[in-house]
Symmetry: D2
Subunit: 424 residues, 4 copies
């Protein structure tokens, strides 16, 4: 949160930033029809309309109705329909049934957004919110950005289920490719610190900053590419149990995985479904739509391993948070566009989320935020693995070196890839 | 088709009837948004958009493309997307995934309807179709009418999944009630005939007309009412295994049935979801949304049994095909509106489909229609039970005494009820 | 029961017949270990130990404890453990958990049999039972015979799950083969009668005898053979949807059926698991371990159909109830051993149960037996299809022309095959 | 392994220790019938017979057949039947089907044990094994001890499924109770070391010993007791989502958990199934049969948390490995028998496994053992949580401070409980 850093940003600036972030979400839905926004293609994903409503519900529930207990709800049914998982807020519509809601209509949800945007914006302009509510607005904007990414990944999954494979955006991003050789970069061990340093906004799960002991190790200068993934496949990677975790082999066998999500064999070439429709797989782009299981198996096949999240964060120290993010409009991982620096890992940020070997668990002295928003992160700390660095669908301003994303080990519909590590 | 047989109906009349039936379908969708039309609420049901496309596909596939092999398909992807189950036509989109199709858009499907309607209508006006294609148009119109009913029942199920319980039509049908006492009517046994007599259109499954031996029996003058159903519930009907078939008890227990589909207890009264929203249950209306299992248990509780389909058809002999059909606009079973005749069963047609004790099996000398449309009926003759008489969602012109509807024993989302029978 | 009607059979004879039938069951278990008897290999099947206990429970519950309300139960826990599905008797151990019972030990169950056998036998010797209890003994003996067949088919399934494919009996039955050409035999139609005629014991579901109208038809002189089944397979029978009922095609596809149960391809030959271990499939033996779905598809492929149960019973009129039953010890269908008669169908009884086209439904004026045993048959009359004629695992004295066996359309672990019929 | 520590133990001593450990396993099965040993009550558990065979297969496969490639296998089918999960050894019988094997008979498996015991024992007596095979014998003995515990916990589950609740041992262990007040003990933080120190045998997953940074914390002097668990229940613990992890609440709700595994309410008192049959729950005994989810919720309810495995191991430093292990014969957690020391946690070893907050992941520089036994541990490092300290079913000589047990977060059939920790 820049407030903390900058001192006292003008209220106008806060309101403008709020409106900008909210507008990005709306922009993502702009090319879509009401039908596109209504459908839920799997339990783990939500309809775009639900994302639009839920992110708005967050501001209404945690900001507007607390600022003014007399606040008249836009639609009383929304309290239940758009609650995701906050038990403290009360009942909620079951997640697997989010796709059954033809009503409220998309237009009604967009009107809901307009009204809440106006009310929050007004309060911000007038600097009328108590500090804890301003903090919740900040949290809500970060929450909004998380859902911007989910809108794209959930939508991609939904479109991929249509045999006509419709495109979300028509133009295919140009990818000037300058193939790089992957190199190993040494990272010093010892007593290090990880976690958020207190400058700007961070989620509770990134805190507090704390000491960790790290053994010296090496990290790859680049993420694993689609070319390496094809080599893994050609080398029988999906048929060799010795490369896999037991649970991974089980998942791969029972679901018939023979390649990453969205791949289709057409003649002698692999194609993949993208937000631009079907496209041939490019060898030099970072591999994505891989589960933790596949990432782990690919690393073992390469004679390496996944980094822990502490290793990843140490390796990222000093690396600028730049890369192929949502704003580039590519919506697909791209090959490295300019020569990598000699001593720093490239593409640490953007392109693909990188699976780490670490399960998602509380940092020492972790304290969930007080109140209902304390349910935001802590209660998911079980059977999830941490991913780092953001992807081509993440808003750039949303990502930090300490940012912890997390998904179940079998999740594949995010832009998830990997970077190799090995013991020094 | 009686027109072919009766001599020479005017081509204009045929075209007009075609347009009228097609217009009814479109009218049913008129109050709905694109979102309403896109959602599939369970595997057994289809989105309204799919019904709109599939019924049109029927005419394109079986009439237009056969009349003119050069016929340019409206959209080549529709051949697969809108094929229901005709293996002879080729691939088909899996039924449980019909709700994943945000594309084609509703507008595109409506344009498809317009074009096909125009082409078929033109051919009919010009009397340009070969007799077997005219017969397929007739089949297609009857097929369309079946889907008109399914549009309503599938839509009702989808709307019922929405916690806001939205209404399809706002006005609740007036129900002037003149409660009748249920009486037993004797029906003579002996060597009788059932099946379609050859006058007018009938499906292959109603043919040929054939002899059956029937023991004398009695049939109820009225369907079982919601009042009797409440008595059954109050008498512990859903908790007494001795009243149920083994498979029925299993279904009721494992799914937690304590009343018919769509019922909710509000305070001391039962309410039910209707196409007009939630409404209190009226004692004098025919009971509906019952499975075969519940119908069978209610009959046993009443010291009676379900009629066989042969018994039902004999009891319906001479009864005019009149009643509360789709055209009344009630879209809900109504109480008897005028005194019943002394000697004839009332409400045999319309209001609710009546479960019979007969499984859906081929009549002696049954022959499926030749070609792909031979898949229409015969291949479903397994583990289904026959219902007779039509419902408040059936078009009046679609129903005949010989008409055989069929559903699995656990289906409850149709307007399905029962009429009692007993041995003489 | 013919004894009651025929006058006064000696009490000694009744007791002896009881002991003989009970001894057959025990003999079937004789070659088995306690471990063999304890295991349940699927929900539909029961452990042999359970069959041994349940058939004994039947006599204790319905005869001994009614004859003498002071009767001391052998083990009070058996009332629940060995109740199959009689709600009127009270609680029951869930069917899918019958294989979790290591206790009571097999020896304890055999001691239970000994005691109940002695008590019932004594009562019969002394002619001390009231007529309705004598009728229940008769019912119990027929019940026992049904379980004799189930012991063999359930055991066969369990042994087949063992990768070492152990044999129940070592010696393979000699099969002197005199291949016969299948012929069509005409059967006259008209007003016929089917159902039990009142001579000797019959289940309630075979009664009352009643009139049916039958169209003239033809029936095959022999059951479909394994040779014809191989031709069906070679002709792509399992890959051609047009041959199958919709539900059958679904079952075949989702379970990956490519041949009947128990078949394995070894090199260029089919082998099958038998109660004598693995054996090559013999072309001239009646095909078995087929579901209703497969039987129906094979008939369609052969340009014929399954007979209804009324047709089957008419065709069996006058045919002696002789054939390859349990007593032959073959425990596998055999080829016809002597030339068939010119005018009568061969192998109507024994070898394999023959699927009919008829669902299992109540005969006109059907009345379940009074009391708890009324749950014996009637409550299963839903989603089951009738099989006729008995098999190589049926006791000869158990089978009658009017005997109605029934199983779900997807059941394959019985010795179930088919005989073709066609319209005249 | 004392070999490493003592220098050169006599070969005779090695052989004797081998025979003793093997005899314990056999002793555990001694009170059981062949039926008891054959049944599998859930996928996660195995029949006792399978444990007896599999532990023997381990020695035959990894020792005998490698010592002498000409070694004649006892039964060639065992290679597949008793392989648990070693892909490098070849095919294996599917885990969920281990309970379908009535053959080999228990006697045959015991004869298998006899022969392998004799062969291995002879080789050990003659000191004839190469060092790497001696190491595999050591591994096999530790493997055997793991299965000793599983024999008891799997058996307990199987017996609990029997409505007669049979006892494995008749005598209920006396529990002289001296209730202790739970106290908080401070543990210093800083740069510590955990992992096996190289003295004696350890599994690969306990190695290598490595540095960790620990914040100062406090640990409870005693495990959570059944009394505290009852307080948790009375306080609505199973109905308050705010106490649970999201996945835990989901598991508890969907499976209807209202108390730990094996508990039954009888009147006003809780009873639990034990290896001695049903027994009232004692307040002062350590709580057990809890999932990770329940342990985590109980800790949160108590205003504390679970320790990490590093914290647990630091807290256990210097605590003697003594307690209520398998050898006590109690087979149930007992109340503390003598006053606890002032400064050391009591009951760290034995009684109940204690869930930690740590997922089961590789230590820095972890290397799986070479060859097939490398599949022993590493491939399970996903979605499992670590338990420490051993239980009343663990052999005393099997447990070390560095010992890492692991189970899925929803597993409850082990003797699993918890000990509270909190930040300093």
């Amino acid at each position: 949160m820049n407030r903390a850093r900058d001192g006292a940003p003008s209220a106008r600036h806060a309101a403008q930033r709020f409106r900008e972030i909210r507008a990005v979400t709306r922009g993502l839905a702009a090319p879509l029809t009401a039908e596109d926004c209504a459908i839920q293609s799997m339990t783990e994903a939500s309809p775009v309309k639900w994302h639009l409503g839920h992110t708005t519900w967050f501001f209404e529930t945690f900001v507007l109705s607390r600022h003014d207990p007399q606040h008249a709800p836009f639609d009383s049914s929304f309290r239940v329909l758009f609650n995701s998982y906050y038990n403290a807020v009360g009942e909620r519509h079951p997640r697997p049934q989010r796709g059954l809601l033809s009503r409220p209509a998309l237009d009604h949800v967009l009107a809901y957004r307009d009204q809440v945007d106006k009310e929050v914006s007004d309060l911000l302009e007038r600097d009328a919110l108590a500090p804890e509510l301003r903090a919740l607005v900040e949290l809500g904007m970060n929450h909004e950005q998380q859902h911007q990414e989910l809108i794209l990944t959930d939508l991609k999954h939904m479109l991929s289920c249509n045999p006509t494979r419709p495109a979300y955006q028509k133009t295919w991003p140009l990818t000037p490719i300058s193939p790089e050789q992957r190199r190993w970069l040494a990272v010093a061990g010892g007593l290090r610190e990880i976690g958020h340093d207190g400058e700007g906004f961070a989620f509770d799960n990134e805190q507090p900053r704390h000491k960790v002991w790290i053994e010296p190790f090496e990290i790859a200068s680049l993420p694993v590419t689609h070319g390496e993934l094809m080599d893994f496949i050609d080398d029988g990677g999906y048929r060799r149990p010795e490369l896999w975790l037991y649970a991974g082999w089980d998942a791969a066998a029972s679901r018939g995985w023979t390649g990453p999500m969205y791949w289709e064999r057409r003649g002698s070439r692999w194609h993949t479904f993208t937000l631009h429709g079907m496209a041939p797989v490019e060898r030099n782009t970072p591999a994505c739509h891989l589960s933790f299981y596949e990432a782990d198996a690919i690393a073992r096949w390469a004679g390496a391993r996944l980094p822990t999240e502490a290793e990843w964060e140490c390796a990222a120290e000093g690396v600028p948070v730049e890369g192929n993010f949502l704003e580039s409009g590519a919506l697909h991982p791209l090959a490295l566009r300019e020569p990598a620096l000699q001593d720093a890992p490239a593409q640490m940020f953007g392109d693909v989320w990188e699976w780490t070997r670490s399960d998602y668990s509380p940092y020492p002295h972790f304290r969930p935020a007080p109140g209902a928003v304390g349910e935001y992160n802590g209660k998911f700390m079980c059977n999830q693995y941490v991913l780092r660095g953001g992807s081509c669908a993440s808003p750039a301003s949303h990502i930090r070196p300490s940012y912890r994303n997390f998904f179940a080990a079998d999740a594949r519909w995010q832009f998830s890839g990997l970077r190799l590590a090995r013991d020094a």
